[in-house]
Symmetry: T
Subunit: 69 residues, 12 copies
């Protein structure tokens, strides 16, 4: 028997503070237009540097949500 | 000369029976809103366990469809 | 502080000429419906062969665009 | 706040019939000594051949169970 | 002391029914011209879609056979 | 000359706060039954989402401890 | 039902001009002894340098051809 | 037309506090002798354990800086 | 029909002499408490350096043993 | 007997024209301060997009040169 | 201008003594029927265990040889 | 609190005898100009063949050394 299906989208969130915040930024953005977000997977961690200091934490995340039937 | 372009989406299908069925579940779901589905690639195989038995086969699949010009 | 968020989509572009052209084909297609495309990452290079000759260069590319808040 | 912790073990299940059966074989074995098995991930699919026929399907699976506190 | 040596070839088997069948198709094909096939490793699982349904399961498999000295 | 040997186990720690906390949760759990824990490697970062917010940070970690001879 | 089977060989093509040419070199070589070449996958891109200039583009490609039944 | 070139170096930063701090430690170190640092990529996350507690967060990072022409 | 099941553990063996010896060290350690060890897979090769000389070869190995039914 | 040793550095070359040119840009830059460049390996292909068009091809390359004894 | 083309085959060599010997075993076997062998790449290291001791070192190697035009 | 920082360089060592020797060759070379070498990681094993015999073992190694503050 077939069960539920989920769609997985990829976002790239950024934050000046931390990776948790960069991921939160992506999840918040996704939740504006999508419902039933269930889980995320971190695909890549990067960041920006200016004047010798980290100025941006960047997280590429895959976010899954349940498809309504 | 530029040729056809395809878009690739990622779905996570589930089934109580088999991986072929979990993949079929994802493809069926995609076909409800998209036309010209052409191929899929299996990205990950997982599953759920309850009371010491496999209760769900889960397949993360990338599904490609042709973009109409 | 949270910063900008980008969405990443996956396209599969094709060309009879070169990989640069196959990528350009995918980017051109994406730009028809999406704004603020920023960067792309090449995920896979493949191709088609007919009568012993390469007839198609195929590039799977991830394309990122900025999400408007 | 810290949450639940799971332990992940790796088993290599085999079957003469199918990959679903090979996975089931590993899960059944694990459930003999472990409780609260929750999910599994397929890490590798292989198989044995004899006299030109597939005689064994082999699945390397990671199986997770909840640690009782 | 040197021991036995095996050669590994790569085949891409297809089936309308299942991955086990697609793998079997590749192994059967290999056994027509090669002897002493010993094991296989699944390198990739893909498939074809037509009219919104999976029409072909495709398995890229590495097949090993013993080299006669 | 043979030297020390370490065993590596895989845990999946969770936390409502951060990845450092999720890792700490797994290490704390491991230290309840194992001595001489030496290092860990982060194998995967994931998380849970509820009501459009990250509710759990999940870290799959490999933890190594020295085997007493 | 079992379907067509393809064999995949690996070649390393080189060219003084471009990667498309290096791939073409490998495909041309393969087509001298094999028929029904269908597709190729680029596995690795490398190159040679002499006197501070790129003198050779090198592409490791997997080339698939249909096995005649 | 050729554009800017960047050099990428690999550092391994450590911190008793967090991964963000471990990365910051590596970036600060790099900025002592290099100018025009632009971005970093996280290649690996590890850590040290003593007396059953995480005592060090370790981040292997690739740091890119622009080469002055 | 379900077949035999194997458990796979991960050890990190070290030696002052060679990788073969580091692997042997891990296998010897495993054989003290486990029976029916069947095969191993090398997952990672590393080493320690002191005073500009390699002082330790380190091999992370997965070791499989048959589970008694 | 020990043989020659090579150092491998990582550069990120860019070009408005092609990947071959982006690689050439990195190799040319390396050759300004280093001698005996021997080979390169392409580690990543990316690019920049502006106004819906590819404006920059980016190649991360590892470049090897012989160390003079 | 197109240059030389190489074919790459995959062998699995074994030895009771060392990995160097297992590789040598595969190369020796290849050289019996092929000329102009040029280089090899180690793809995987494994081994067999009997009675708690390593009894076989196994190396999966890709071996390249020049195709005569 | 930030801790020590290490720089990681990549060398490609060669030897006519063994991989241990090829690695030693790279470490010895690094130690001529760098102090405080701490550990290495094997990234790739390759080799050269002449007249049907292995003539060179090649090891790509990442070598880490402590940065003096």
């Amino acid at each position: 028997m077939m069960g539920a299906t989920y769609k997985i989208i990829e976002l790239f969130g950024t934050s000046q503070t931390s990776y948790e915040d960069a991921i939160g930024s992506a999840v918040t953005e996704a939740s504006k237009t999508l419902h039933d977000l269930k889980w995320f997977e971190v695909a890549e961690l990067r960041g920006g540097i200016e004047n010798g200091k980290v100025t941006e934490y960047q997280a590429k995340v895959k976010i899954a949500f349940k498809i309504k039937k």
